[in-house]
């Protein structure tokens, strides 16, 4: 299915890496919005933490010229999503608005999708999610609490899309550009994260994706993501010289 085949909406995100300061406001906003279990110390140490959006930090150079580069990464909602064809039970599929959706009550936990995803943005629930009783008060009733044994990932806050769409319908108009925002884009203080409708040529994200700094992650895999990145600007970079960064 191509973009043009979708209905009036093709939801996507433009991430301006030049504005990302690595503050993690998006990470905690997502955690709160989507009932993601607490990433305890034990889970962090065992690399079993769940974070639908993460901010990766890379070092470049050495002191005194060291630079830290940040890049937020979440499900790329690929048009040619490698996670979709490998699911034996169709628990992950492409919806009519261009998004990669996870059906929790179909998932049987094969984890094939996580293996297929080149972006490593799918997370398996190794344990039953547990919150102390009183903390359950702040769980978001719009979002399912996922049980042990199934896969989860960024949904582009699909419940917010549904709520916003219904409200627009009830008010008798189209969804206004910017009216529906994900939890992460709402929180992002610098507006590095921008959410909107790529099918609307006048939307903010449609205009942003035309920026000459636009690129997609792992373009060589032809996954055709709905998350577009705008490259980091280094005002002192000699144009034509390659940049090198190291992880860790």
């Amino acid at each position: 299915m191509t973009t043009a085949e979708f209905g009036s909406h093709n939801w996507g995100m433009v991430v301006d890496v030049d504005k990302c300061i690595g503050c993690n406001a998006c990470v905690i906003a997502c955690q709160a919005e989507n009932n993601i279990p607490i990433n305890t110390q034990d889970r962090v140490e065992r690399a079993r933490s769940i974070s639908w959006i993460r901010v990766e930090r890379y070092w470049e150079g050495d002191f005194p010229d060291a630079k830290a580069r940040f890049i937020p990464i979440m499900c790329q909602h690929c048009e040619n999503a490698p996670c979709e064809p490998v699911c034996p039970v169709y628990a992950t599929y492409h919806n009519s608005e261009g998004n990669n959706v996870q059906v929790y009550n179909r998932c049987v936990g094969t984890r094939y999708c996580a293996n297929a995803c080149p972006y490593i943005v799918r997370f398996f629930n190794y344990w039953e999610p547990v919150w102390p009783e009183s903390l359950r008060n702040h769980l978001n009733p719009d979002v399912t609490v996922r049980s042990r044994g199934i896969m989860e990932k960024c949904s582009f806050c699909v419940h917010r899309i549904r709520r916003g769409s219904r409200q627009a319908r009830s008010e008798g108009h189209e969804v206004v550009d910017g009216a529906i925002q994900t939890a992460c884009s709402t929180a992002c203080p610098t507006s590095a994260l921008n959410f909107g409708n790529f099918n609307d040529p006048n939307s903010k994200v449609s205009k942003m994706k035309e920026d000459q700094r636009h690129y997609t992650l792992l373009d060589q895999f032809a996954t055709d993501p709905n998350v577009i990145y705008l490259a980091k600007i280094d005002a002192d970079k000699k144009v034509g010289a390659g940049e090198a960064a190291t992880h860790g």
């Binding site: 890496v17 504005k19 300061i21 690595g22 503050c23 993690n24 406001a25 990470v27 905690i28 906003a29 709160a32 990433n39 305890t40 962090v44 993460r54 930090r57 890379y58 070092w59 005194p64 060291a66 580069r69 890049i71 990464i73 064809p85 599929y93 959706v101 490593i120 009783e133 009183s134 903390l135 702040h138 978001n140 009733p141 719009d142 979002v143 399912t144 949904s155 419940h159 549904r162 219904r166 709402t186 992002c188 203080p189 610098t190 590095a192 000459q212 700094r213 060589q220 895999f221 032809a222 490259a231 600007i233 002192d236 970079k237 144009v239 390659g242 940049e243 960064a245 992880h247 860790g248």
Partner: protein, 769 residues
């Protein structure tokens, strides 16, 4: 047509060849278009939510927020788009603060300790009130009310209450802002911190203040930063000994020796003056604000004293003077030295040199409070004042101490022996939502409502350049426990409790005081809310999260830099045992703050932006220096000053000076609920008694320590490495472009660079030409 490897793979993926590959998996393409036979829970819109506007109380500098409430439960905290400071944006701390409301270890009932060494036992509020009244009566004027720095109605009530009982109100802030306030007063002649018009600046030159991470209103500053990077992209220069969030965002990072920030600022000024980069009028104004002149700040000397290269000093100077409007910002660790007042004064004087005072894209004064008797500015009492106060406690001259939102046992260095001082006070009354270290020494512990349950007002500091009064209102009522056995907490508001114990001359309830204040604002007839009646006005202000009047403002009254103590002094680590000597630079945690959010699991799990570590205390050390010393990541380090010793996990990285060790604040609580208790170390405890010479503030970045391996190594709980990097090209995980360079061109350049290196390695290659 030339194709590189990336384009070749992309093309094959997007063409029929790619489709065949997928089809070969046995699933015709149409089979992949599957719709859910039933709606997902996420597809259903359940229940109606309500969004209440309020203020963040103790957790930001007055940011306005919206709280989502469903079925009487608070679900989410987001920025208030109407609020002039943070303009709808948030930080990682917002939602963490929500967890205080429903914290599983929330104090549910008042508790009394019948003897100093006894245990706390639950009592009724009636018994607590009686005990409280006795403590006030016994005090007979020997009373101290200790709070965090409070602006707004609560600050007014605390001060009036203390005065009514003949006592004093002292504010405690482990990261003292007194030096900053003093420097702003001397250079700009203002009592309130000024606004920095980052949005309209072309160059920002900041020192010490991690304004994008933890200083001022990071959410508000983040909004401005986003605007600063748009259009004619601004250039950020930041000076700090370690890589903070702001250092990482900077186009040019300067890493001066701690305490030499003022010297660096004047070195920059000397270049600007020497190269005649500013007008005569600006130069004349600068000479007036710095009567001592710039002798002794030649660039070679400054480079030697600060450890910053001549090239970088010149580059910073030229950019700052040539690409105006420019603004200079100072604070944080730059002011936390024995010469802190000089450092910040010299930094702020740079604004005079480039004509940035009260100018667009520069620094703008903030007006005073719109409300009579409601403070618009607050700062902690100086460390010197605290030492004097604690001497009174030890001497038995203080009968009753009331403590609220000031964890003095955690926040004060070992050198003041705060635990012992508290032991000499007959009546220690502590308010709070979750048990903290100070409550271990309290005779009466009273459960306090969180900012989501209590009334109040807050005046942001710094404000946006005009008068703002933010409102705080209860967004939820008392919460019944899940088993319906009672309330999660039978808490009361601090302000309401004080008012109930007062003579009533300054109000009977916080709600009444807030509404009185709104009535006063209504009578001004100006501002963001207009209504025909006082009650409609109050409703309008509460719905919007406050009142602001863009027609108000203030002008600076430029004075002089205090140059009485120019050189930094440090504690002597010589007697701190064996090990390698380092400057200790503590820093405020991005998520825990100074420790006030340590009890919440979301704050604990938030990865630190630089190290990605969580749930622990780590010590940042320069990678090459660590190699020289044989220190590896996870080595338990003993950090020792003359005030004590802590342990921290080594985290080597290239973004810190080789002579500096950076340790986050916030951990090391003996008591603070299940998520924080006995976790990590408290770096504040080992700070040495060094003070700013002018204000007496604690010079919290002037401690020198000895560092030694403990001989153990453990895994650092961090997110880094949990996920394999997904590079644009091998070695290039984040695509970087030059100004006006396209992403495509940058990718091409990176690719060819990679190919070149690959071929040079003699392993062959294929560029798909």
């Amino acid at each position: 047509m030339k194709l590189n490897r990336r384009e070749f793979l992309a093309l094959t993926g997007k063409t029929a060849a790619g489709a065949v590959i997928f089809a070969a998996c046995g699933l015709p393409e149409r089979e992949l278009i599957v719709q859910s036979p039933v709606d997902l829970p996420e597809d259903l819109v359940r229940g109606e939510d309500a969004w209440y506007a309020t203020s963040m109380g103790d957790f930001t500098n007055g940011d306005g927020v919206l709280v989502r409430v469903m079925q009487g439960r608070a679900k989410k905290i987001e920025g208030n788009p109407d609020h002039p400071v943070n303009r709808g944006k948030a930080t990682a701390r917002y939602d963490s603060a929500l967890q205080l409301l429903y914290h599983p270890d929330r104090i549910s009932e008042p508790m009394l300790r019948y003897s100093k060494n006894g245990n706390l036992v639950e009592i009724s509020w009636d018994q607590a009130d009686t005990r409280f009244k006795e403590a006030l009566s016994n005090a007979n004027g020997a009373l101290t009310v200790v709070t965090n720095p409070l602006r707004g109605t609560l600050g007014s009530v605390a001060s009036k209450f203390a005065a009514q009982y003949g006592g004093k109100h002292m504010a405690f802030d482990p990261v003292e802002q007194g030096v900053l306030h003093g420097a702003v007063k001397s250079v700009f002649g203002q009592d309130q911190l000024p606004t920095f018009d980052i949005s309209n600046a072309h160059t920002v030159l900041s020192f010490g203040a991690d304004w994008l991470g933890t200083w001022g209103s990071p959410a508000g500053n983040g909004v401005k930063y986003g605007e600063f990077r748009e259009g004619d992209r601004g250039y950020l220069i930041h000076a700090e000994p370690r890589m903070s969030v702001t250092s990482a965002a900077a186009d040019l990072w300067l890493a001066p020796i701690p305490g030499t920030e003022g010297v660096l600022a004047l070195g920059i000024a000397r270049v600007i003056v020497g190269e005649e980069l500013v007008s005569d009028a600006n130069l004349s104004a600068f000479n007036a604000v710095l009567p001592d002149g710039l002798n002794g700040y030649g660039i070679v000397d400054v480079a030697n004293r600060t450890g910053v290269s001549i090239g970088k000093i010149e580059k910073a100077a030229r950019h700052f003077a040539d690409h105006t409007p420019s603004v200079a910002i100072g604070g944080g660790s730059a002011g936390a030295h024995t010469n802190g007042t000089f450092n910040l004064g010299a930094i702020y004087a740079l604004n005079v040199l480039v004509g940035a005072v009260d100018a667009k894209g520069g620094v703008t004064a903030n007006p005073g409070s719109a409300l009579k008797d409601i403070p618009a500015s607050a700062t902690g009492a100086s460390f010197e004042a605290w030492e004097a106060e604690l001497a009174q406690w030890r001497a038995g001259n203080v009968e009753t101490v009331i403590i609220r939102s000031a964890n003095i046992v955690h926040g004060m260095p070992n050198s003041v022996a705060i635990r012992e001082a508290l032991g000499h006070v007959p009546n220690v009354i502590a308010f709070g939502a979750v048990h903290d270290d100070t409550m271990d020494f309290a005779d009466l512990v009273l459960p306090e409502q969180t900012f989501l349950e209590a009334w109040g007002t807050d005046i942001p500091e710094p404000g946006p350049g005009y008068q703002v009064v933010g409102t705080q209102q209860p967004v939820v009522g008392p919460t019944i426990s899940q088993d319906e056995s009672g309330l999660i907490s039978d808490a009361r508001g601090f302000g309401d409790t004080l008012l109930a114990m007062s003579d009533g001359s300054y109000g009977s309830s916080m709600e009444g005081l807030v509404k009185d204040s709104l009535s006063d604002l209504h009578s001004t007839g100006s501002g963001s809310v207009s209504a025909s009646s006082t009650s409609l006005f109050a409703n309008g202000a509460l719905q919007r999260g406050g009142w602001w009047d863009t027609s108000t403002g203030a002008l600076s009254n430029v004075g002089k830099v205090n140059t009485s103590a120019k050189d930094a002094g440090y504690s002597d680590a010589g007697s701190a045992g064996s090990g390698t000597e380092f400057h200790l630079v503590p820093f405020v945690s991005n998520s825990l703050g100074d420790g006030r959010l340590a009890s919440t699991p979301w704050a604990q799990q938030t990865p630190d932006p630089i190290s990605s570590a969580s749930w622990s205390t780590w010590a940042e050390i320069n990678s090459k220096r660590a190699d020289e010393l044989g220190i590896k990541e996870g080595d338990v380090l003993l950090i020792r000053s003359t005030s004590g010793e802590i342990e921290a996990l080594a985290y080597p990285h290239p973004g810190i000076r080789p002579d500096v060790i950076g340790i986050p604040m916030g951990q090391g609580h003996h008591k603070s609920g299940r998520y924080a208790e006995d976790r990590g170390s408290n770096v504040l405890s080992i700070l040495v008694d060094e003070k700013d010479t002018v204000t007496g503030a604690l010079a919290w970045a002037a401690t020198k320590v000895k560092v030694q391996r403990a001989g153990r190594r453990v895994k650092v709980p961090k997110f880094e490495g949990n996920v394999e990097a997904r590079p644009i090209e091998p070695g290039v995980p984040v695509l970087v472009v030059g100004v006006d360079e396209t992403a495509h061109d940058a990718q091409e350049a990176n690719h060819h660079e990679y190919q070149k290196n690959f071929l040079l390695d003699g392993e062959g290659g294929d560029d798909h030409e």
